[in-house]
């Protein structure tokens, strides 16, 4: 990218956003019929499917934990989701992201209620433009709630950092490629503000960190509002359909409970 770009002068970002403005975010639940819970998320150009299966039998067996359910996240990208074709199959980056996403979600779900089981969380990026891991975490959290999983809170995530001399929220690809780019994926439990995911690449001063951390928490809370809306929408939709099947009713109640819990 052009080294002459200076956000301090332009006051606006390359795509016209304000420094603290996130790209448009929308989330829909119940998109994968076979799954116990699922979500489709669009965040700027990022497009993500998330599906939850479980709690179910752990495979391979030796990975079971007698005290709690193991959340197994698989973060993947389709070969065509990036400008340069990605070779199919998980690479080291996918494996690391899967690990940290699983750890973040484990804090939100009451995993101790389902010992010796696994909860499979699968996230697939079908179109990407920076920030796909936080988009996946946001979608996965909604899918877990959609599955009626007992949760102490949602996990809301965003990217935050620095590009072209300014602290910004939700960096896009052009900004991630800035010479001074700092990228910080952050996720919190919005009600307690516990940080459950935090990564960083780049150079920041202590002062900049203070400001950017605040910006991140503010951003996560905005994301949380969209997550809640997606769940309330689902509940209202199934209500409108008036489906009387027992399983649907149970699911609806579970969702309602989750929404209430997160609202507190």
């Amino acid at each position: 990218m052009d080294r002459k770009i200076d956000y301090k002068k332009t006051k606006k970002r390359l795509d016209g956003r304000k420094m603290d403005e996130t790209r448009p975010l929308s989330i829909k639940t119940g998109v994968i019929e076979n799954a116990d819970g699922s979500a489709y998320l669009e965040w700027g150009q990022n497009k993500i499917y998330a599906a939850v299966y479980g709690p179910r039998e752990v495979l391979p067996k030796h990975t079971a934990n007698p005290l709690k359910s193991v959340i197994k996240v698989e973060y993947r990208m389709t070969s065509f989701s990036v400008p340069q074709r990605k070779r199919p199959g998980p690479n080291r980056r996918d494996q690391e992201i899967s690990k940290v996403l699983g750890e973040a979600l484990s804090r939100a779900v009451f995993v101790e209620q389902f010992p010796n089981t696994e909860i499979g969380v699968y996230v697939e990026v079908v179109d990407a433009n920076a920030g796909s891991r936080v988009a996946c975490l946001t979608a996965a959290s909604v899918a877990l709630a959609d599955a009626g999983m007992p949760m102490r809170d949602m996990v809301a995530a965003t990217g935050v950092g620095k590009a072209y001399g300014e602290l910004v929220i939700d960096l896009n690809k052009d900004e991630e490629d800035a010479p001074d780019a700092v990228d910080i994926p952050i996720a919190i439990l919005p009600n307690s503000e516990e940080i459950v995911l935090l990564q960083m690449d780049g150079l920041l001063t202590r002062k900049e960190w203070d400001a950017v951390a605040k910006l991140g928490i503010k951003g996560c809370k905005q994301v949380y509002e969209v997550q809640k809306k997606a769940l309330v929408n689902k509940f209202e939709l199934s209500e409108a359909k008036g489906k009387g099947q027992a399983t649907k009713t149970v699911k609806k109640k579970a969702v309602k409970k989750t929404v209430k819990k997160v609202k507190k």
Partner: protein, 264 residues
């Protein structure tokens, strides 16, 4: 537990099949409702979501510059990959491509390639040096049988709508700029049948596949050619049965081709 349920369900499919009926009430030669959407992935040179009943897949094409094969100095190439993501069904597992996935991709590939719908000579940039290489990968998002036909429709539609990348003066791809499309010479489509309880049914669901003793697919074109066939699973077909399925493939293929023509 799942196995017991599965056994019960497949027994039901078999019992109904012997009476010439199907669990979802379809006629034996009736295809489920098909819907086709395109252009969801901005980073892909073409992308398509196909749903057949509850089966849903996403396909995307990446086109890159490659070296021609030594024996075909003036021809580009295509390659097709298939993945049954664990996101799409509780029985799908991740890991190295299974034999099923390899067969699925290869049968879809053959139907398209052998029909000579794509003129590989037109994919030549500089003889002996640079050619276009198309990678089409498709992924199950929700699995309910007949991924063969879903993959075939998605592949055909994606190639029909594919954009060729634009090159700069040094012969490098300019991202997100395009120069023309691929013109397909004909429109090949697979039609897949399962033999269940001695009866032949088109477009099998996941349960019908589980209950089937044999599977057969034929790729037919709009101008009266058969471009590929594949028999699968342990059982057998009589020649009369194969002839019946070929006739049906043309009939059903023509109907789906009409629907594809409406796709933008």
């Amino acid at each position: 537990m799942r196995d017991t349920v599965m056994e019960y369900e497949t027994a039901k499919v078999l019992k109904l099949a012997r009476e010439g009926k199907r669990v979802d009430g379809r006629a034996l030669d009736e295809v489920r409702k098909i819907s086709i959407e395109t252009g969801m992935s901005e980073n892909a040179e073409g992308s398509t979501i196909v749903t057949i009943g509850k089966t849903k897949i996403i396909a995307g094409l990446k086109i890159d510059i490659g070296k021609p094969y030594p024996d075909n100095q003036d021809e580009g190439s295509i390659s097709i990959g298939a993945e049954t993501l664990p996101l799409a069904h509780p029985d799908y597992e991740s890991g190295r491509p299974s034999a099923q996935e390899v067969e699925l991709a290869r049968v879809v590939d053959r139907g398209l390639r052998e029909s000579k719908a794509i003129d590989f000579k037109k994919l030549c940039i500089t003889v002996g040096e640079a050619v276009w290489v198309g990678f089409l990968d498709f992924y199950a998002l929700n699995g309910d049988g007949n991924l063969f036909d879903a993959g075939s429709i998605a592949a055909l539609v994606t190639f029909n709508n594919a954009k060729l990348p634009k090159l700069d003066k040094e012969g490098k791809i300019i991202l997100h700029e395009y120069n023309g499309t691929l013109k397909l010479a004909r429109q090949p489509l697979l039609t897949t049948f399962a033999k269940v309880g001695g009866k032949i049914m088109v477009d099998p669901t996941y349960l019908e596949e589980k209950a089937s003793e044999a599977r057969y697919s034929a790729a037919t074109t709009d101008d009266g050619f058969i471009s590929a066939m594949q028999k699968g699973v342990g059982g057998s077909f009589t020649l009369e049965e194969v002839d019946y399925m070929i006739d049906k493939s043309f009939e059903i293929g023509d109907r789906i081709r009409k629907q594809i023509k409406q796709v933008k």
